[in-house]
């Protein structure tokens, strides 16, 4: 009989139901979608629910200064400043780059190793259980080649998984991208893919969510409408017919 893997509850009830009890612990999940689809909100909520249960979270901000991000998030009811101080560590990756002297546009293999080592060091020292990298696409941009991107994601997710960490890699999907990620390799090496999108229906722009892949669990592949409310993300099944996914 297949051994049931321990789960990491996202705290978004409907999502945990779709996943039949949450994300298998230690998985690296690609949260992918175009701009404005709710990737960051979903990821932060994942960390906040972890923090509420006493699981330390690490948010690695690549594109936006975390200070600015926090200002925008305060509007949520479930979020308090205290929570940030106690439960979540926010890091701006440019500070890591600066401290490690990684100022070249294209990273070398040595730089990649250093980056992984330092992320792992933080996770170990603070006993972090949930990690969000927002976004992986911006890091990939400086890795350039598919081999380096693959190496980076594989090694990082292996190391984090061994530490019992569940990881969200936020992926920015540009209109030019084919498949579920910008470089194509991110989706291949991830354990799961959650696709967020926009759907235009009768003049409204709806946000949608679909679990495309998740290793270690069975799950629904239906599309859900995602609502960002002051009490967090709500998901409802998408009524079929009409509308166009964009």
């Amino acid at each position: 009989m297949e051994k049931v893997r321990e789960r990491c509850l996202t705290g978004i009830e409907a999502l945990d139901n779709i996943l039949n009890g949450g994300i298998p612990k230690g998985n690296t999940v690609l949260i992918t979608g175009s701009a404005g689809t709710g990737k960051t909100t979903l990821s932060i909520e994942f960390l906040v629910h972890g923090a509420m249960k006493g699981e330390k979270g690490l948010y690695i901000s690549v594109t936006e200064a975390s200070e600015k991000l926090l200002e925008n998030l305060i509007v949520y009811d479930f979020f308090s400043k205290e929570m940030i101080q106690k439960g979540i560590i926010f890091i701006d990756i440019p500070e890591i780059y600066e401290k490690l002297g990684m100022n070249k546009l294209q990273f070398s293999m040595e730089d990649i190793n250093l980056l992984i080592e330092n992320i792992v060091k933080i996770v170990t020292e603070f006993n972090v259980k949930r990690v969000v990298i927002d976004s992986i696409t911006s890091i990939c941009y400086r890795l350039q080649t598919e081999e380096k991107i693959m190496e980076f994601i594989l090694r990082l997710s292996k190391a984090l998984s061994e530490l019992g960490c569940t990881t969200f890699l936020v992926s920015e999907l540009l209109p030019s991208a084919k498949g579920y990620s910008q470089y194509g390799v991110e989706e291949a090496v991830s354990d799961g893919i959650i696709l967020l999108g926009n759907l235009e229906r009768r003049g409204d722009l709806l946000r949608t969510l679909r679990v495309v892949k998740m290793r270690g669990t069975s799950h629904s592949r239906a599309t859900y409408v995602l609502d960002i409310t002051s009490i967090g993300i709500l998901l409802v099944p998408l009524l079929k017919g009409g509308g166009e996914l964009i």
Binding site: S66, E67, I89, F90, I91, D92, P94, E95, I96, E98, K99, L100, G101, L114, E117, N118, K121, I122, E125, F126
Partner: protein, 246 residues
């Protein structure tokens, strides 16, 4: 023509009672010839009304003062230490980077990420120009040495900064002295500097069978070619002394 004394015995009479106000002087010499000592003797001989500033790129501030005290020169001068600033902002950072790359970023640095202040990249030439802009008329300025600038900055930018200093010296009733070690630079750099300055002095230390021949030359004197000449020099407890004319 109004002039100010150099403080070097017998040199003022060989010039026009010293250095004409508004003139910029280049003092170049072979290593060990005593150009740095000349620079200190010159700044220590400033008139009471002159705003005296000594910009150093290589020495420690206290070493400059101690040397000047040894020779009983006036030490009521302002010392700007570009070398220390460069060490603090550039080299020290490199030392930290190598430590972080080797040992990983310490946890204490991670927990207070917003306090980590990324100091503005140091632009030595901007800093230098700023210091020059602070000089009050009349002033006496020493810049020891140009070698540091040429080895750390783009040559054309250094030349352009020197032009700014020269203009400032001209219009603000100052005298400025730059030091430069000869034979280190391509002729285009050397001639670029030589073209800007009004007076060129050189010091050479030539090995002979019995000791050293110390040769001092006035290589250029703007509008006074009759002043160009070759001298011998020596050192006494009061500093540099110019000797008989060849």
């Amino acid at each position: 023509m109004n002039s100010v004394p150099t403080g070097v015995e017998n040199l003022d009479s060989a010039l026009i009672s010293g250095i004409p106000i508004g003139y910029t002087v280049l003092l170049s010499g072979t290593p060990g010839s005593g150009i740095e000592l000349f620079a200190k003797q010159f700044i220590g001989s400033h008139l009471p009304e002159e705003d005296a500033t000594y910009i150093t790129t290589t020495e420690k501030t206290e070493d400059i003062i101690n040397t000047m005290k040894d020779f009983n020169w006036k030490t009521d001068i302002k010392i700007v230490n570009l070398g220390e600033e460069f060490y603090r902002r550039v080299l020290e950072k490199e030392i930290f980077i190598s430590k972080y790359r080797e040992e990983g970023i310490p946890a204490s640095e991670i927990l207070r990420p917003h306090k980590f202040h990324i100091e503005k990249e140091l632009d030595i030439l901007t800093l230098l120009t700023y210091e020059i802009s602070m000089l009050k008329s009349p002033f006496r300025l020493v810049l020891d040495s140009l070698d540091f600038l040429f080895s750390n900055e783009e040559n054309s930018r250094v030349i352009s900064t020197l032009r700014t200093i020269k203009s400032h010296t001209q219009y603000r009733q100052g005298v400025s002295l730059f030091t430069l070690v000869t034979t280190l630079y391509p002729s285009i750099v050397q001639s670029g500097v030589e073209e800007i300055v009004d007076i060129i002095l050189t010091m050479e230390n030539i090995r002979t069978q019995t000791g050293f021949d110390r040769i001092f030359t006035i290589k250029k004197f703007r509008n006074h070619p009759e002043k160009v000449g070759i001298f011998k020099y020596n050192f006494s407890k009061n500093g540099i002394i110019i000797q008989k004319i060849f």
